[in-house]
């Protein structure tokens, strides 16, 4: 303090302090005197600090000014009254900007989330493909109505149909067939799989794509023995290091190399994204010409033959899809008539983009609706806050009204203010959207189509702006309407707490609360329905045991069938010999990988109409595959190497006919399909005809699902030597993790088959996880939205109750003094607060049933109006609302009634 004291006062102050201190010591004792001294020092320091500031001010002013001017200067000097000024400013800001702050932040979050979701919807569903006139690109399909379930494979077409369409369908300027293909790059001990497609020569003309380097495919290439190949930009960079002289270079397995003739532009991507179902999810690196032979192969002319090609086409300008479809149908009808089978062929036509995103469509719209509902709740919350604010400041409004402001002007002012807040919130929200979009995309499952085309473009920004305007309007609507219709006189009568203005404001807020409760109920129900559906879906028995097992895809395309037979014979033993592996086997396709390789099968001696011919899935497996997969045998036995016919494989049809019949194992569903009433045990030894060959049943295995949502298919398991597959999935049982075993499994495979790429390796449980990943993602988002909705609704109830009990303090106090018990007060307050919630929930439940019906297609084994979901949801909303009431009501009822009554 000594240091603080200006020189001129120092002596006086310090000496005086000492003097009084001495006196005090005598009067009240040393300790009291010392504490007095300490107090003096503290307060004194503060006063002296002020003096310093005063003096510094004055030094800059006139030394001889009158005290009036000096005081004026002092007042002007911000620094002198800094503390006081700060406090004033803080109070003002807090008063005005708390409301604004809350409004802006919650609107920003709501608008941001909605915009992010919309950008996904826009990128996936609404934006046209990145190709010229992409609206004209169609994918053509055909299906056989007589065969149930054939519609699932509608877009896989037959070469005969393709040729017929190509010749006769004048509504299309070009048609092209596509078939997936791949080859192995031997790469230095690590064979690499390169995926591509074989396409008709006019493929790129149909798409409207131009080459970046070199040229694209042309009709002569279909017969060119040098195998011309067009590569994608991505592959050009990864495999050729963006070599500008790539045209003319060769690539491929030795002895079967292709020659690069051109590079596609970087904007052309053909995997799950741009052209969807065509090459489902795999990146495509090259294109070769699809050489249908000069019509010599019978499979090209059989009408009901090899449905293994995709066909795309470009509509002529001005042609409508319906007309084109009719033309295609006519061509197919003529074609079907020429075939011996008495079946019909019906054409299908869909835009390429629509077909690509068809699976995601419903889910995305559902999510967008969910997030819009949350935004709506936010707006309603804010509207309710506005109403409170107006009610609280009714004197302000009344004075303004009395000063001549018409109610409509006030209403417009409120609307304007809420629009401004919403626009600011919207701008912030767009920033939020950018951030949350990255997060959303980062955790999105890989099989959502076109996800890489999602970005914040002009349409999204426009949507965000429009949304902000709408949000502002919705938020300000109710309070503005109230102001518009109200009489300013109401606001001036402000003595009693129960004015009509208050009551009607309360009613408005109750309606808003009810609306929030209804929205929250609907969202929660939707989340609950989907959640229950998901749970039921994944808790189904899969039929095989995925624990402690790994799977690896092994591609054997580089080998001839005879070579494959040899190495497949050695492969399981090689892998099983690895430390940590208990069993190893393989299958051409695993359960949960969908249905594939569908063939007709006949029971000898049974005559069946062509439409009723049983179709089954064929799998080529190694002995021990059932044990490796954990599929129990129900009857008979597994395949074994001893079932292999002795001697070299047949090289002619005659030899093949002379061989003993092959063996196979049926799945339970297949057995039931073929011999419905016979118990499995009795089926052992029975004969079947598959692809012209007679085979005997040696065992019946339990069912394994091909996909979660469908019933298990009828499967026939043949030994691999019957037709060594070009691609197998290896299964190894081990307690070790996939990461630990990955390199040793690959090494084991390459010891046996050095030219076999192993593109995927992972735990067996990944199969199911990948299959349900989109649903899990969607459910997670929906649960998030629903929780937010519930939280916001609860907050709305909290605010309502807090405000209304604050207003009714006097009334509650009066009731207490007149003898009301705490329980009665509770009932009174809760009834007022929960009545709107209850009616909101009731309305919400009805809406939830309607929504459930809309969602019915997405629900698995759950009724749209399932009480298992609806009842807990209703309870949850009521409980949350009640919980929100607790604190303010408790505080109000506990308050001393006398203070409440007096403080008026």
């Amino acid at each position: 303090m000594r240091w603080l004291t200006p020189a001129d006062l120092r002596a006086s102050i310090v000496d005086d302090l000492d003097e009084v201190f001495a006196r005090r010591v005598v009067a009240v004792g040393a300790r009291r005197a010392r504490s007095w001294y300490r107090r003096q020092v503290w307060v004194g320091s503060w006063a002296l600090f002020g003096l310093h500031i005063d003096r510094r001010d004055r030094r800059s002013g006139h030394p001889n000014s009158t005290y009036a001017e000096v005081d004026a200067m002092r007042r002007r000097s911000l620094f002198a009254n800094l503390w006081q000024d700060l406090r004033e400013a803080w109070r003002a800001v807090r008063h005005r900007f708390t409301f604004a702050g809350v409004a802006i932040v919650s609107l920003a979050l709501g608008i941001g989330a909605t915009t992010a979701m919309f950008s996904v919807v826009n990128g996936v569903l609404l934006r046209p493909l990145d190709l010229p006139d992409s609206g004209q690109l169609m994918i053509l399909g055909e299906r056989i109505p007589e065969i149930p379930g054939d519609a699932r494979f509608a877009f896989l077409d037959n070469p005969a149909s393709f040729f017929a369409w190509r010749q006769q369908a004048t509504d299309f300027s070009g048609l092209s067939a596509i078939q997936a293909s791949s080859f192995t790059l031997p790469g230095a001990g690590r064979p690499q799989l390169v995926r591509g497609a074989r396409v008709s020569a006019n493929f790129f003309d149909v798409l409207g794509v131009r080459a970046q380097l070199g040229r694209l495919l042309a009709p002569p290439d279909e017969h060119d023995k040098t195998q011309p190949m067009v590569i994608t930009d991505r592959f050009w960079r990864s495999a050729f290091d963006a070599d500008p002289g790539v045209v003319g270079r060769r690539i491929g397995p030795p002895g079967a190399e292709a020659i690069v003739v051109g590079v596609l532009p970087p904007s052309f991507r053909m995997h799950g994204s741009s052209l969807g179902p065509l090459l489902a999810g795999e990146a495509t690196d090259y294109f070769e010409a699809l050489g249908f032979g000069p019509g010599s192969d019978t499979h090209l002319t059989t009408v009901f033959g090899d449905f293994n090609y995709y066909v795309i086409g470009r509509l002529r300008p001005g042609v409508r899809p319906a007309a084109a479809l009719a033309q295609l149908n006519g061509i197919l009808a003529n074609l079907a008539r020429t075939a011996p089978e008495k079946l019909r062929l019906v054409a299908e036509l869909a835009s390429v983009r629509d077909e690509a995103v068809a699976a995601a469509r419903e889910d995305l719209w559902l999510l967008l609706s969910g997030v819009l509902a949350v935004l709506l709740i936010v707006c309603v919350n804010l509207g309710s806050l506005w109403v409170t604010r107006i009610a609280d400041r009714r004197r302000d409004w009344a004075i303004r009204a009395a000063l001549g402001a018409a109610p409509s002007r006030l209403a417009r002012q409120v609307l304007g203010e809420s629009l401004v807040l919403a626009l600011i919130g919207g701008v912030l929200g767009l920033l939020c959207a950018a951030v949350s979009l990255n997060a959303l995309l980062a955790v999105a499952p890989a099989n959502v189509p076109r996800l890489d085309e999602v970005r914040l473009d002009w349409r999204v920004l426009g949507f965000g702006l429009l949304l902000s305007l709408l949000a502002g309007l919705v938020t300000g609507l109710v309070p503005a309407l109230r102001l518009n219709r109200s009489d300013p006189q109401d606001y001036l009568k402000a003595t009693s707490a129960a004015t009509t203005a208050d009551r009607s404001s309360l009613r408005s807020r109750q309606v808003l609360i009810g609306l929030q409760a209804a929205l929250a109920t609907v969202l929660l129900s939707a989340a609950g329905l989907l959640g229950l559906s998901f749970y039921r879906l994944v808790s189904q028995p899969t039929g095989f045991s995925a624990e402690h097992a790994l799977s690896a895809d092994v591609m054997l395309g580089a080998y001839t069938p005879a070579q494959r037979d040899q190495l497949l014979r050695r492969l399981p033993a090689e892998v099983a010999a690895l430390p940590g592996v208990t069993e190893a086997a393989f299958s051409s396709h695993l359960p949960q990988q969908g249905e594939i390789w569908i063939e007709k099968i006949t029971v000898p001696g049974r005559v069946v109409a062509p439409a009723e011919e049983p179709h089954i899935n064929v799998r080529f497996v190694s002995p021990g595959s059932f044990a490796a997969l954990g599929i129990p045998m129900l009857a008979g036995r597994d395949l074994s190497e001893s079932d292999r016919p002795p001697g070299p494989p047949p090289t002619s049809a005659a030899e093949a006919a002379a061989e003993p019949p092959g063996v196979l194992v049926l799945s339970k569903t297949a057995a039931r399909l073929l011999w419905a009433d016979t118990p499995p045990r009795d089926l052992i030894g029975r004969a079947l005809v598959l692809e012209g060959e007679t085979v005997h049943v040696i065992g019946i295995a339990a069912d394994a699902r091909a996909s979660l949502a469908a019933a298990p298919p009828a499967v026939v398991y043949q030994p691999y030597w019957e037709e060594p597959p070009a691609r197998i999935s290896l299964v190894a049982r081990s307690v070790m993790s996939a990461a630990a075993l990955a390199s040793s499994i690959r090494a084991a495979v390459w010891r046996v088959a050095p030219l076999a790429p192993v593109p995927t390796l992972g735990p067996l449980s990944d199969l199911e996880a990948t299959a349900v990943a989109p649903q899990r993602y969607e459910l997670a988002l929906l649960v998030l939205f629903a929780s937010l909705a519930l939280l916001l609704a609860a907050m709305g109830v909290y605010a309502l109750v807090a405000h209304s009990v604050a207003r009714r303090r006097k009334e509650l106090a009066l009731r207490t003094t007149l003898g009301a018990r705490a329980a009665d007060l509770w009932r009174l307050v809760l009834r007022q607060a929960l009545a709107p919630v209850a009616s909101g929930v009731a309305v919400g439940l009805i809406a939830a049933v309607v929504v459930g019906r809309l969602l019915a297609a997405m629900l698995f084994d759950v009724a749209p109006a399932s009480p298992v979901v609806l009842v807990p949801v209703a309870l949850a909303v009521l409980v949350a609302a009640s919980a929100a009431c607790l604190v303010p009501t408790h505080r109000a009822i506990r308050a001393d009634p006398w203070t409440a009554l007096r403080a008026e």
Binding site: A11, I13, L17, Q40, G44, Y67, A68
Partner: protein, 110 residues
């Protein structure tokens, strides 16, 4: 128009009036304590008196050191004419503000 005096200023001026010649630092502080019934900060009083001096309402001088053991030069204060005028104005203001107001004490019906 003279600007407002704050409370401590008024108390200090009143003390000066009351004490007359003997208005030095400690005495002023004691007087204010006695009047208000509360401890007062010595430094704050000096600051107030300093401010009053700069506004021309008070004049200050240092006295000769007292001829006794521990005696020192003391700072004395006295109100100027302007200071007295300010006090009078202050009293008039108070009177105007309190006119017509009765603050009910204990026992009055309310």
């Amino acid at each position: 128009m003279p600007s407002a005096l704050n409370r401590l200023d008024v108390l200090a001026l009143l003390a000066l009036e009351r004490l007359g010649e003997d208005a030095y630092g400690v005495a002023v502080c004691d007087d204010i304590s006695a009047t208000t019934g509360r401890d007062v900060s010595i430094a704050a009083v000096y600051v107030a008196l300093d401010r009053l001096e700069r506004r021309g309402l008070v004049r200050a001088w240092s006295s000769e050191p007292r001829p006794e053991r521990g005696g020192r030069s003391r700072r004395h204060f006295a109100p100027t004419a302007a200071g007295q005028a300010a006090l009078r104005a202050e009293r008039a203001l108070m009177t105007r503000m309190w006119r017509g107001v009765t603050v009910p004490g204990k026992g009055s019906p309310r």
